[in-house]
C-alpha cells in the first residue's frame, strides 16, 4: 500500500518560539534518513532557515498572489520529496487563510500527500486561541502541538488537544545556554554532529537523538493511523 508523503509545516502565530529550530531539526532528520527534502522559508525579511540550507531552502514571500502560486503549486507538485515549510509569524494568517480558501488539504490528499502542522505551542493566550482557530478553520488537517521547553517551561496540554488521539504533543527539551550557542552557529549540523563526534555522548547528542526519536514516533503514529483508516475503510485513502 502506498503511503502518503508528509508535508511538514512548522508554524506559530508568535515570533521567537522556536519554529525555525523545529524546521531545521526536521530537515536534518529527514536528510539523515536519506530522504529527498524540499524546504520553504516564509520569513522574507529574515530567512534564517534558508541561511542554514541555502541549496535546499527556497525563501518565499506569500504576501502576493505570485508568491502563493510559487509556494502552493510547488508543494502540490507530484515529486518524491518530503516538504518542510517554516511559516514565519508574519505569514501565519495568510498561509492558513490561503490554504483553506484554495482547498489545499483535499487536493494534497488526492495526490497522496498529507499536510502535518507542527504547531509551536506556548502559554500565551494568543497562541491558545490561534490553535483553536486553526482547528476550526482547517478541521481535517493533522496538527501536532510541539512544546519547546526553551521557550516556555510549562505548557498546558489541555490547551492543545491533538487532532488525532494518536498524535500526542512533541516535547523539545531545554538545552543549556552554552550549548544553545553551539547549535545556533550557521555551520552547525545536528545530523553530522550525531554521526561525526566520537566518544562519550554529550548533552547535544542526547538532545538531538531524543528529538529525532520523537519524529520517528510521529511518523510511525501517522503510518499506523493510515493503516488503521485503510483497514476500517477497506481502502488506501489516508
Amino acid at each position: 500500500m502506498a503511503q502518503p508523503t508528509p508535508i511538514y509545516i512548522a508554524a506559530s502565530p508568535r515570533p521567537r518560539v522556536g519554529k525555525t529550530v523545529l524546521a531545521r531539526l526536521l530537515v536534518e532528520f529527514l536528510r539523515s534518513g536519506g530522504r529527498p527534502v524540499g524546504a520553504y522559508d516564509l520569513n522574507p525579511r529574515e530567512p534564517v532557515l534558508a541561511g542554514y540550507f541555502p541549496q535546499l531552502v527556497s525563501p518565499i514571500d506569500i504576501a502576493d498572489t505570485h508568491g502563493q502560486m510559487v509556494l502552493f503549486d510547488q508543494l502540490i507538485a507530484r515529486r518524491p520529496v518530503t516538504r518542510v515549510v517554516d511559516v514565519g509569524y508574519g505569514a501565519y494568517d495568510q498561509f492558513f487563510g490561503v490554504m483553506a480558501e484554495i482547498g489545499f488539504v483535499r487536493e494534497a490528499r488526492r495526490r497522496m500527500m498529507e499536510p502535518v502542522v507542527l504547531f509551536a505551542a506556548d502559554r500565551a493566550a494568543a497562541t491558545v486561541r490561534a490553535y483553536a482557530d486553526l482547528r476550526r478553520c482547517l478541521p481535517d488537517i493533522t496538527v501536532v502541538p510541539v512544546h519547546n521547553e526553551f521557550v516556555s517551561v510549562t505548557c498546558d496540554k489541555d490547551d492543545f488537544p491533538p487532532t488525532r488521539t494518536a498524535c500526542r504533543m512533541i516535547r523539545i527539551p531545554r538545552l543549556s545556554q552554552l550549548v544553545r550557542g553551539v547549535i545556533d552557529r550557521p555551520s552547525f549540523s545536528f545530523a553530522a554532529y550525531l554521526e561525526a563526534t566520537p566518544g562519550t555522548p554529550t548533552e547535544i547528542h542526547g538532545w538531538v537523538a531524543g528529538i529525532f526519536n520523537e519524529f520517528r514516533e510521529l511518523e510511525l503514529r501517522l503510518l499506523m493511523g493510515t493503516l488503521g483508516a485503510s483497514l476500517s475503510r477497506g481502502g488506501g485513502d489516508w
Binding site: 498572489t65 505570485h66 502563493q68 502552493f72 503549486d73 490561503v98 480558501e101 484554495i102 482547498g103 487536493e107
Partner: protein
Amino acid sequence: MTKPSVIVVGADKGGVGKTTVSRTLLDYFTAHHVPTRAFDSESPKGTLKRFHPDVTEVVDVTSVPDQMKIFDTLSNDDSKVTVIDVRAGLLSPTLRALRDIGFLDSVKKGQITFAVFHILGSSIASLNEIEETASFTADAKYFLVKNYVNNTSFFEWDQATHAAYFKKLKDAVEITIPKLNEMAYEQVELASVPFLTFVANKNPKGDAANYSFVLRGYVRHWLGNVWAEYDRIKLNDIIGAAAAANGPRAQAAARS
C-alpha cells in the same frame, strides 16, 4: 413540459461585469444539468461566445431577424433557459423591444419565466437606470447585482438616495458578486474557458491544462460564493430547474 425561462443580463453602462455574471450563470446551469443556450449581443464579436462557444450565438438584439431567432424558438428549442447578455447601453432598448413584440405580455400570462439581472455601476447614474428599466419589469424577477469582481466600489451611493430608489422596486432583490483575485481573473481570461473548465484544469479543447492550483482554488472558492448567492435567491426554483434537469437533453448531458 416546463415553461421556458429567459434571463436578461444587462446594464446601461459598460465595464460593470455583465459578461462575467452571464458566465457564472451558464456555469451554474451547467453544474445543475439545466439545458441552456445563450445570446451575446456584443455583435459582431462576442466576449461571451469566446468563453462558451458551444451554447452561444452572437446576435443583434435590435434587428428583427435576430429577435425572431431568439424569441420565436423559445418553445421549440431543447434548452430550458435562455441567457441574453445585453451589450452596454442596450438594456432599456431591449426591454422596450420585448414589450413591443408582446414578450412581456406572455410573461404576464405566465407562459414564460422572465428574469432581469441588472448589473449596477458605481455611480448615481445606475440608480436612474433602475428607475427606467423598472417600468418594464413588473412581471419579471428583477435582480439588482452589485458586482465587486472588478474592484467596483459603490462610493457614490448615498444611503438615503439608495434607499429611496430601492423603495420604488418592491420586489427587487439584491445580489452581491464578490471580488475575485485579480491574477486568477486574468488567467481565466487568457485561458478563454468557462470558470468551471478552469477549475477542472482543462483547456478549451477539453484536454488537461496546466493552470496554477492556487489560481484554480481562488476561482473555485469565488464561484462557490457566487453560486451561494444564486441558491439564496432560489434561482433553480425560479426557472423550474428540477423539471428541466430531468429532460432528455439534460440527461444526455449528465451522462456525457
